[in-house]
Assembly symmetry: C2
Homo-oligomer: 361 residues x 2
């Protein structure tokens, strides 16, 4: 097991599933979310009807894309509709089945579900997927073997289409998407250059096969990047935006690919950015170097490629050829602060919230 | 024959090929080129050696990309090196073989060559391609059946990949690239929306099957575009940049493709554009709508697709299913003014210079 988990199972968890604690959107954040934009509630949980499951949350996934659904950010708007006020924040969860109205599941089963930021709830059995703790730790279904890992796989392999010997640059490179992008690039015979914030993260990149590891907080970041890509950049996996993009652009090679998966540094923006206008220069670069900039989400690739992704990566994770980190905070009430930190890069690895005890550990 | 040609063959052409008139770059243009940036010279023409041809220019092609090779434009820089001062301006030409050092060609053959802005010159026989006047007018080798037509074919069919029923928007739509893009879109079962400058051009678009034809000079252009694309835009073929791009962006559908072939409205720019900075908004749009923006040139597709392009389009041109316009000015000395006009949209159809008599007409 190469993930990191605090000893949270020592905590005294409540196992009352007749009531659900949940976190709802109290107000739309203006810029960076604040704790007061979230509210904790307690509501009764209905009994499961036929075909339904009563679920208890073990792990909740916190993901940057959720910021786009909260509104009031200027530059990024999610393709999904805004989350209404007073609704539960969305998020993937690993849950235990507590009561089953479906012949396909029994109490004690561990499943992947979309319960959101709440401690218990009811879902149709058709919307969950059973997890096998013997294959890999169940929390990986929210990270390296889940949506972030699959996003990395789609973006690098299907959008970026790496060739051996090419240089791949990825930012947020210790995060669940970025770390997978870098390691998949290495497995494809590419030279992976990782960017992260802070010496601990940079050290982790060096220890995990990245050819170069850069700290975007360094005052000399742009020069350090230039030195790290002597043959230019063939794939820039864009998941942060901002000044990392600025630093990478001059180094893009002819025919470079830029899969766009996220722009986390811009999600909290509230105003149009000041000039000069960089768009004409970007379009000119795209033209003169025949660059492809392609936004994507994993969704359209699920039916065609998710099984292949799992077949390829699950053994690699189990055997330690694909490594990952988890950053787990304790208790549902810690979710807002952890989410706020995530948008600023405070997490080190996949950000999870342990909402209840994990019976598989 | 659906091209338009003035009665230039009445002109008294000199047929002296011992001297070549040529136009060289006298100074790098600051912003829009001026006539004084060009200089006419007369130089002796060498005799062709073995394997070489002495060529007399009939038609010279003027193309916007040449601006990128002249330098001093801020936003666009050609991938090719800058043209040195005092060198002949580059350009495709249709020529007559006057003296042949190659067994493969005889006097009177009409060939496609890269002689540039000059009336006569010597080229290796290996660099030219014989044209058959019985297949189509030889001038089309510089337009609808030449580089501009192939550029449209590559950009629309191979980069844009149109599906029947989709909406395709193209600007400079009466130009040699844009008119081909629109008509190829129609042949693919798409709805083509053309943008041009001035009522004559707009009328030509209406007469040639475009579902909507818009004048970008109209004060209500953005509103008119919105009304013309009720189902959004699936492919925006980018060949102008500037405010046309701005107007199209909000209408791009999820999964839209933006082949980038040119940015002619920006080629003369000398300063960074003033703010606000539109790049973050563009990247956000690319992300949230899974848009692909792809710069391209026809070059990498020549070996794999040029013959297929000719096989598909030459019959369509001959039968009038693909229509085109030519805008021909008389005499090499007219090239600088016509080129300056081209960068401002003054041409109506493929801009050619008739440098010498066309024996095939």
């Amino acid at each position: 097991m190469n993930g990191i988990s605090p000893g949270v199972n020592e905590k005294e968890w409540t196992d009352d599933v007749t009531m659900s604690r949940r976190i709802v959107l109290a107000s739309r954040p203006a810029g960076a979310p604040r704790p007061s934009d979230f509210r904790v509630e307690e509501v009764p949980v209905p009994r499961p009807q036929e075909g339904e499951l009563l679920l208890r949350t073990i792990y909740l996934s916190l993901d940057p894309y959720v910021r786009g659904r909260l509104g009031y950010a200027h530059t990024y708007r999610s393709a999904s509709p805004l989350l209404p006020l007073d609704e539960v924040l969305p998020g993937g969860t690993v849950c235990e089945v507590v009561d089953s109205g479906s012949p396909e599941f029994t109490e004690g089963d561990i499943v992947l579900a979309d319960l959101g930021w709440q401690s218990a709830g009811v879902r149709s059995a058709a919307t969950v997927r059973r997890l096998d703790p013997d294959v890999s730790p169940v929390s990986t279904a929210l990270g390296v073997l889940g949506m972030p890992g699959f996003t990395a796989y789609v973006g690098l392999n299907l959008v970026g289409r790496p060739n051996p010997g090419e240089t791949v640059v990825v930012a947020a490179a210790t995060g669940p998407v970025g770390s997978m992008v870098g390691q998949l690039a290495l497995l494809s015979g590419c030279r992976a250059v990782g960017i992260a914030g802070g010496p601990d993260k940079v050290a982790w990149l060096r220890d995990n096969g990245f050819a170069a590891a850069l700290d975007h907080r360094s005052p000399a970041f742009a020069d350090e990047l230039a030195a790290a890509v002597p043959d230019g950049v063939d794939i820039y996996f864009e998941n942060v935006g901002g000044r990392v993009l600025d630093a990478v652009l001059p180094h893009l090679n002819a025919g470079a690919r830029v899969p766009v998966c996220g722009l986390v540094s811009e999600y909290n923006g509230t105003r149009p950015a000041a000039g000069p206008d960089r768009l004409p220069g970007m379009m000119s670069l795209i033209l003169s170097r025949a660059i492809t900039v392609q936004g994507f989400t994993f969704g359209p690739y699920t039916a065609s490629h998710q099984q292949q992704f799992l077949d390829e990566t699950a053994p690699a994770v189990r055997e330690g050829r694909l490594r990952y980190r988890e950053d787990i905070v304790d208790g549902l009430e810690a979710a807002p602060t952890a989410f706020i930190g995530l948008l600023g890069g405070a997490n080190f690895g996949k950000q999870l919230v342990q909402v209840g005890p994990d019976p598989t550990r």
